[in-house]
Symmetry: C2
Subunit: 297 residues, 2 copies
């Protein structure tokens, strides 16, 4: 295990313990959706988004506990998006991280409600944090926009569904970049900005960390596309080779595997450059971006 | 048209104009969900929740414009719940207020995303209001809990689905009351509390208005059940006689139409009593509760 893999592993073990506490077990009938929320949230993700948030906040000396509710609410929101994306009317996926998706483990109605519940709970948890009210408002606005239908994650999902059925674009790369920046990028940018807000970063520091997250975000998506072609289904934990079967427009279909790898390499180099001003403090964030490039799941 | 009907009509005309402004028309592909959000939000509801919020706020001298973003965000959140409730996996309704439901007018994926988008946008709009940060945080917490899966609207929806398939309760009235208080009551209580927060109401005033909203909420649900039996499908704008066909547990199935009417009458009398301390200022709220009892749509 490399250094960053071991850091990520111990982080996610600690974070999982804390995250679980937000979902107390109850046998009350009316809390049936909470069971499904808990199931999906505790379904073994990489916790990349909360990790990014905690690491960015740490650059400015913000302790783990202080950033925890903000990181937890982000992971809840991310999980809602996965539950709804997996639904039969959307990507229709039966497996996620090697386990049945929410609507398979429960049923479709419960999965819809569990997604709704996580999205709603994310805003409750964020606003229950021990933070000044102005920071809560700033974070709530940032998160709702990043996840939103105008220029955020939902807009990205709309584009993604659109490109499934429409293939004739004059400039396919532009559409792919826009889709990925909205669908994945917004929720990878948010933790870096949220860390800056928590840590009272300067405008310049914030700009650099946004650049970092943008490059990491696109590189992350590219490696996702590459894993779909080259990955090990057991390690990745989901059905692969789906993109090609569905004739999906993505970085690999446009540039080929080697071309896509070169682009990702360039993006990660740029991401590292954005961190140079933070010196040794950004060691883990640098390792993380390099890991994005070489991950096998 | 009675006095209250005419007040409600001119309120909803004004409110609709303002609500529509939150959804600018765009031909951007990625904003496809916004079109569906706009369609459903502008689909001619009674605007009962924003009206309650505005009327409660008015008791304390809060002007219409000040309360508008809070009322608009509530109506967005309410609309999201209707879109998701109508989905095939949930109530599977084709028509709502005399028009095709969101997934019929668009498609299922778009309807899921439009619901998600409205829920997300509700928190953005609330937090964009011109209000002190501490009020935004208080309102965001109240709204997320009222709409939530632990003890809010989603928990009510879970109970409602549960009682569709489970009929053997030792105390069916208790289950029905709990279902309705969660499913409908929480989002009718919120506007009354939000009005109190906006208007800096005393704890005693807030308690009285919560009592009012609780009684109005259950009475509203009872008249819904009665309309399902006795209503005019054209006026109500949705398929009726569904409850009986589905052997649905509700106030009418337990107490019969006359028994249910008597309970609603008693609740409305209690609601009026809670308002007496506000004197003539609460005239419209009193009329509104009486209207709940006699409404035909």
């Amino acid at each position: 295990m490399t250094e960053i893999e071991s850091i990520l592993k111990s982080y996610s073990e600690k974070f999982n313990e804390d995250l679980e506490k937000y979902f107390p077990i109850s046998d009350n009938i009316e809390q049936g959706a909470v069971k499904a929320m808990r199931y999906s949230v505790m379904n073994g993700g990489k916790r990349l988004r909360p990790f990014l948030l905690h690491e960015t906040a740490k650059l400015f000396g913000v302790p783990y506990e202080k950033a925890l509710p903000i990181a937890a609410s982000l992971e809840m929101l991310h999980t809602y998006s996965l539950i709804h994306d997996d639904l039969p009317a959307m990507d229709n996926d039966d497996m996620r991280r090697g386990k049945p998706t929410c609507h398979k483990a429960f049923d479709e109605a419960t999965a819809i409600l569990a997604g709704d519940g996580l999205l709603t709970y994310a805003f409750e948890v964020l606003n229950s944090a021990e933070l000044k009210d102005n920071k809560k408002v700033e974070l709530t606005l940032l998160l709702s926009r990043a996840a939103g239908a105008f220029n955020g994650m939902i807009a990205g999902q709309v584009l993604d569904l659109y490109t499934d059925t429409h293939k004739d674009f004059p400039n396919p790369e532009a559409i792919i970049c826009q889709t990925e920046e909205l669908k994945t990028g917004c929720l990878l940018r948010y933790p870096c900005e949220a860390g800056c807000i928590l840590g009272n970063a300067t405008a310049e520091e914030r700009k650099l960390l946004i650049q970092y997250s943008r490059n990491v975000g696109i590189a992350f998506q590219i490696t996702d596309d590459i894993l779909d072609v080259e990955g090990d289904e057991q390690l990745v934990g989901k059905t692969l080779k789906k993109d090609k079967a569905q004739n999906k427009l993505n970085f690999v279909s446009i540039y080929g595997v080697e071309g896509a790898k070169n682009i990702a390499e360039r993006l990660i180099n740029e991401a590292e450059t954005s961190l140079s001003v933070f010196g040794e403090k950004a060691h883990t964030l640098k390792k993380l971006s390099r890991y994005i490039l070489t991950r096998n799941h």
